[in-house]
Amino acid sequence: MQEFLDLTLGGISAGAVYAALGLALVIIYRATRVVNFAQPALALISTYLAYSVTKGTGSYWLGFAVAIVAGTLLGVVTERLLIRPLRHRSELSSIIVTLGLLLVLQAIAGMIWSNEPLAYPYAFDFVGRFSANDLFVVLVVLAIAALVLVVFKYTPLGLRMRAAAFAPDVARTLGVRVGLMLTVGWGMAAAVGSLAGLLATPPFLFPNVLDGVFVYALTAAVLGGLDNPLGTIAGGFVLGVGLSYVSGYFGPETVTIAALVILVIVLTLRPAGLFGRAKARRV
């Protein structure tokens, strides 16, 4: 029972991180129909910048802030330089380009900061069952998720972004700067992704540190429906707790395969995700 409780609590804080990175994927997918496979790499670069700033200045929070800003800029630049030219191309093109960016950024991180693991600090005390740090992670993710939802639902910016994503031609006629809205979407997503990276990385930072987290985030997003931010956040927590049990009872090495199995089962039974509404497939 003790172990079960520990696993549940551990799963909740891990799930918060999957939810946040999954949310980053969903924001971009809603706006541009692109799954950003480079998301973990954007987060990786900003986490490495945070590492360097923290090491140079001694301030964890300064590094944290620099990382979020840098991550946002990276997202904006990626959209403008790499994704914009692919607007009218096949789904395969954007998948391959974001994968290419993933490889390049991981390689650059390795070149600058080496492939060896570096110690990266937790924000708060991390010892014990549901530590201060775990609480911080969960609260931050919930706050960010709420902020994103409020921006989307209740602000003029959110309205324009939704219009640009769902009916770009109509939106353009009505004076919405559709291109700008897409760029803003990428920036927002990258900021949320960088935050997830900062929370997921400790205790060690190395170029592949977010590979697994990304797989789980993608699984969470698919579970919730790639179009559905609320579903993704719920999917992240459900997955985090579920995988925590798998890790506890079957060994941590089996977790990725378990995520794959869950992904396949859910998509087979409910192609639109656990919380998505079934929609006729557009041909």
Partner: protein, 358 residues
């Protein structure tokens, strides 16, 4: 190799003689020719180059399998390295536990094991598309090698399994160096497999694959079982991957999880895209590029005295840049470039002919 392309001009002169032979015979003859070229190449080059030629060989069959899957049926797999992983560990386990098996049986079983994995993955994948499929196969690439640590005693943990294969016939000891012999075996297996793949691509099944890629609904309406076709493509592709992994293990005498990272799967995809999606000749250019970019970046790092951090990551950076640049600027890859060049040459030749006639 893409004679079935519709853009081939109808009036292009048919080469007499060639056309009479059934395609299978033609492909076997081409494979024998290719084997002869490889044997000559290995005889005139040193041991080091032999190893690279053999490496091109097993990458070729892996990339060809992925070309068939991604190029022909439009399914993106980011987990092709997982099938190589299965093949490599099958050979390693067989050599260590069942030494009585001959090498060809080991390799055949490696291909079969890869195929079995592909059948499972394909059955799941038939329901998935685009980014969903890419995500699921990525999970395969990340998750499968991690299992070596779960089953430490059986799969050797992160050090993997090493073994020795004595495949060279006793009579040839002292005549043919071991590595040269291994290179021949690798290429013989690869060419046999390629004959199968080429026949599939050119045959009825290949047309079915392309029909599914171009329009699933239209394919289904014309009586094609879309799901079954997708699974079949996964199966063939995974058999190629399994064989490639088996050959790699045979050549290197080891199978370790570190060789089958997600980066391997992504660089295989880079090879497919660079060579030219959908063309088996492209698979050859891609495989050569895979081996030689690695080699050149090592040479470059040595020449410029780059530090190890930069040197180790250079190939990955190159593959990433290739993926981006090729998709943005040359969507048809190297083979597309060759085709355009050939078309250009033919048109200039025709123009010249016309000038002379008038």
């Amino acid at each position: 190799m893409r004679t079935s392309l519709p853009e081939a001009p109808a009036g292009s002169p048919a080469r007499p003689g060639n056309r009479r032979l059934p395609p299978l015979v033609l492909h076997i003859l081409a494979a024998l020719g290719a084997l002869a070229v490889i044997v000559v190449l290995t005889l005139v080059t040193d041991e080091f180059t032999n190893l690279r030629i053999a490496t091109v060989g097993y990458y070729l069959i892996a990339v060809a399998g992925l070309t068939l899957l991604t190029g022909l049926t439009g399914q993106v797999s980011l987990g092709h390295g997982a099938f190589m992983f299965i093949g490599a560990y099958t050979v390693a386990l067989l050599v260590r536990r069942v030494p009585a098996f001959p090498l060809w049986a080991d390799l055949l079983l490696a291909a079969a094991a890869g195929g079995l994995g592909g059948l499972l993955a394909g059955a799941a994948a038939a329901r998935l598309r685009g980014p969903y499929l890419a995500g699921a196969t990525l999970a395969l690439a990340v998750g499968l090698p991690a299992l070596t640590r779960r089953f430490q005693d059986f799969l050797g943990g992160s050090n993997g399994l090493s073994f020795t294969v004595h495949s060279r016939p006793a009579g040839l000891a002292g005549v043919v160096p071991e590595l040269r012999w291994q290179t021949w075996i690798v290429w013989l297996s690869v060419l046999v497999a390629l004959v199968f793949v080429v026949n599939i691509v050119r045959g009825k099944l290949g047309r079915t694959f392309r029909a599914v890629r171009d329009d699933e609904v239209a394919a289904a309406l014309s009586g094609i079982h879309v799901g079954r076709t997708k699974i079949l493509a996964f199966l063939v592709s995974a058999v190629c991957g399994g064989l490639a992994g088996g050959l790699q293990a045979y050549l290197l005498g080891t199978a370790a999880p570190g060789s089958f990272t997600p980066a391997l799967s992504l660089s295989l995809l880079a090879a497919v895209v660079l060579g030219g999606l959908g063309s088996l000749w492209g698979a050859l250019w891609g495989a050569i590029a895979l081996v030689y970019f690695q080699a050149w970046s090592e040479d470059l790092a040595d020449a410029l005295h780059l530090n190890t951090d930069v040197a180790n990551n250079l190939p990955l950076a190159v593959y990433g840049v290739i993926l981006i640049v090729v998709v943005l600027a040359f969507p048809r890859g190297i083979q597309g470039g060759f085709q355009r060049l050939r078309g250009l040459l033919r048109r200039t030749a025709e123009k010249k002919e016309n000038h002379e006639n008038h």
